[in-house]
């Protein structure tokens, strides 16, 4: 456990947005994540990469917030990619049956390459 403070940083790369949730992913921070994505979606972005490299602890309520993003992107035929997930995070997503609703890449650059070229 490094920090408990949660913040969301983000940046744009081409037609994709990359989101960096940091710290403890719970209900509050999950909501921030949804808001942050919402802003990009509002600007017409349909490709979102969530880089989890700085997420340490999580809880199910925080994770469930991702459902919102998945759903929003699905409605606009967008894509969500998750990267840099710890084993715990991957396992947890697996346990909750979330994996089939997102694309998972080991690192951010893999996701960006895929989004540019359409190739895995």
């Amino acid at each position: 456990m490094k920090s408990v403070q949660f913040s969301v940083a983000s940046r744009r790369e081409g037609d994709a947005a990359i989101i960096y949730p940091k710290g403890y992913l719970n209900n509050l921070s999950g909501e921030n994540l949804v808001i942050e994505c919402g802003i990009y979606i509002g600007k017409g972005i349909t490709k979102i990469v969530v880089n989890f490299s700085e997420t340490d602890l999580i809880n199910s309520i925080g994770i469930s917030m991702l459902l919102q993003i998945i759903e929003d992107l699905r409605n606009i035929k967008g894509t969500i990619c998750c990267t840099n997930m710890s084993k715990l995070l991957r396992d947890t997503f697996e346990m909750l049956g979330l994996m089939q609703h997102m694309l998972v890449f080991p690192v951010e650059s893999d996701a960006l390459t895929y989004l540019k070229t359409g190739k895995l």
Partner: protein
């Protein structure tokens, strides 16, 4: 009988009590007090303190000691009077002649002592004996008792020397009777006269519960004060145990801490018995584990068990009552006492009235309230054999297994508020506990997640006013157990129906995942309702092989 005290140097930690007792006759003469009720758990050393005190007084020669034990006394009034009276006469003469053997020789009839008494010039004592025998030959029940009980007062007055009267296990005197048990009430109050005498300080012992009704008898309250005999401090308890072992030619293995002795809570009787058990079990060298083995023997089959069995037998008249008593005691242990207003006949299997009587007796005796682990283990053993029909060996092994396991356990408790991020404090704590246990770092992440889920479930859904979560972490070499409790709305695992993700998305339902994770992470998840609290028990088996 009072002379079988242990050597003074082996008698530990009672200097303040002894020195207070030594001042009693002065206090009494000056009407500043002088009667003591010596209170203390069974085996704590009340009788021994009296015997030590007796020996000191005997050799100091300033005050005459008289000791009488009601424990083994025949409570039929005429027998008692005879026993008490002759006991006093013998002890008095032995004091004057400084011959301890006279006091102990119960076989010698009073008549044979007459020449000695005359040669000592104690003519008043001869009168006294003749008066007493007069009452006996006239079959005068009441006067026999009065004459016997007032003999020490008489002696004090005639000789001008205080007599300290020590009445051990005095509560039994409440049961003095004339021809059949229970036919005479209040004979105990005959002691009031003697207790009021300025030359006769009294030191009495007995269970506080049993003596309370006696002390509401105003003639006996007088100036009695309570002296509480507490446990031996831990270091002295260990020293005493080691001394017993040395006497029995048993040694302690190097580095043995004797930590397990703590269970005996500084009770000298238990300490002695445990040492004897080691001897009976032919131990030559004691390791910590042997203590547990000997202890399990002690509470199932040893002198401690024998002692408690004989105490128990006083309260029951037939096998049905005995079973009922065991059930009630076990019930009290498991529930931390007896609840008011509960239909205990359901527990005891006896009728309402009989249950009440039995419970009353157990309550007065103090047995039911005693916070005595040794007694509880004894009861547990008896329960396993007599109620559950197990055999004695199994019972003993169960006790042994329990303590061997506890020895390897470590135990943490914490309370967190139901406030935001409080669950992270738990996560941090469990991380360190896991590290202490050498648990795999990756697994610890999962464990943290599971605990966070249980805590936030309590925070979000319990509706508790208390707003606290109580956690216990119990670690064993093969298992980690975490107990999470909170007040508020009950919940059950059945109520957490699984909803597939697709469904969740469709319905906009994003909750109820927590326990799904917990189940996947832990080996077992149990939810119980205990009074007004929900208790979640999480266990994880630890595979030491990998």
């Amino acid at each position: 009988m009072p002379f079988n005290a242990i050597p003074a140097e082996d008698f530990l930690n009672r200097e303040p009590e002894l020195s207070y007792l030594k001042g009693l006759s002065k206090l009494k003469a000056n009407a500043l007090g002088g009667d003591v009720f010596l209170d203390g758990a069974r085996g704590m050393g009340k009788t021994e303190l009296l015997k030590q005190f007796y020996r000191i007084l005997f050799w100091e020669n300033n005050v005459v000691p008289f000791y009488y034990s009601f424990k083994t006394a025949n409570l039929k009034g005429t027998y008692f009077a005879q026993d008490y009276f002759t006991g006093f006469v013998r002890q008095y003469i032995s004091f004057v002649k400084k011959d301890p053997s006279l006091a102990s020789n119960v076989a010698e009839p009073l008549q044979r002592l007459m020449p000695a008494i005359s040669s000592l010039g104690l003519y008043w004592l001869i009168d006294c004996i003749e008066d007493f025998q007069g009452h006996v030959s006239k079959n005068d029940f009441y006067w026999q008792l009065v004459a016997a009980i007032s003999a020490p007062v008489m002696a004090a007055q005639k000789m001008g020397k205080s007599v300290i009267v020590m009445l051990d296990d005095f509560d039994a005197a409440a049961h003095l009777y004339e021809s059949s048990l229970g036919d005479a009430h209040g004979l105990i109050s005959l002691f009031g006269e003697s207790m009021r005498n300025r030359r006769c300080p009294h030191v009495i012992t007995g269970s506080a519960g049993a003596l309370e009704p006696v002390f509401t008898d105003h003639s006996l309250i007088g100036m009695t004060e309570r002296m509480r005999l507490g446990p031996l401090p831990e270091d002295l308890a260990m020293a005493l145990f080691r001394a017993h072992l040395t006497n029995l030619k048993i040694t302690c293995a190097p580095g043995v801490q004797l930590e397990f002795l703590d269970i005996l809570r500084g009770n000298p009787f238990y300490i002695k018995n445990l040492a004897k058990a080691a001897w009976k079990m032919q131990k030559n060298v004691i390791h910590e584990k042997d203590l547990i083995e000997c202890y399990s023997f002690e509470v199932s089959d040893g002198e401690t068990a024998f002692y408690w069995a004989s105490v128990f037998s006083r309260y029951v008249k037939n096998p049905a009552q005995r079973k009922a008593m065991l059930k009630l005691l076990m019930h009290a242990i498991e529930n931390g006492g007896i609840e008011e207003g509960k239909r205990l006949s359901l527990v005891s299997g006896l009728g309402e009235a009989e249950t009440e009587t039995l419970l009353g007796a157990l309550t007065t005796s103090g047995i039911i309230r005693a916070k005595d682990t040794v007694l509880h283990d004894f009861i547990h053993c008896l329960y396993m054999t007599e109620i559950e029909g197990g055999n004695a060996n199994d019972a003993r092994e169960k006790i042994e297994a329990k303590y061997i396991q506890e020895r390897e356990e470590s135990f943490f408790e914490m309370v967190i508020p139901m406030s935001s991020n409080a669950e992270l404090v738990v996560a941090k704590a469990v991380e360190q506990i896991g590290k202490n246990m050498n648990l795999d770092a990756e697994f610890l992440n999962y464990l943290q997640l599971a605990l966070i889920e249980v805590c936030i479930n309590a925070i979000e859904h319990s509706g508790s006013y208390e707003k606290k979560i109580f956690l216990k972490f119990i670690t064993r070499p093969d298992k980690l157990e975490i107990i999470v409790e909170n007040s508020g709305r009950p919940f059950s695992l059945e109520s957490l129906k699984e909803v597939p993700v697709e469904e969740k998305m469709r319905l906009g339902m994003k909750r109820g995942w927590g326990y799904k994770l917990v189940h996947k992470i832990m080996d077992s998840v149990k939810v119980e309702r205990v009074n007004d609290r929900t208790r979640v028990i999480l266990t994880k088996n630890i595979d030491n092989g990998s």
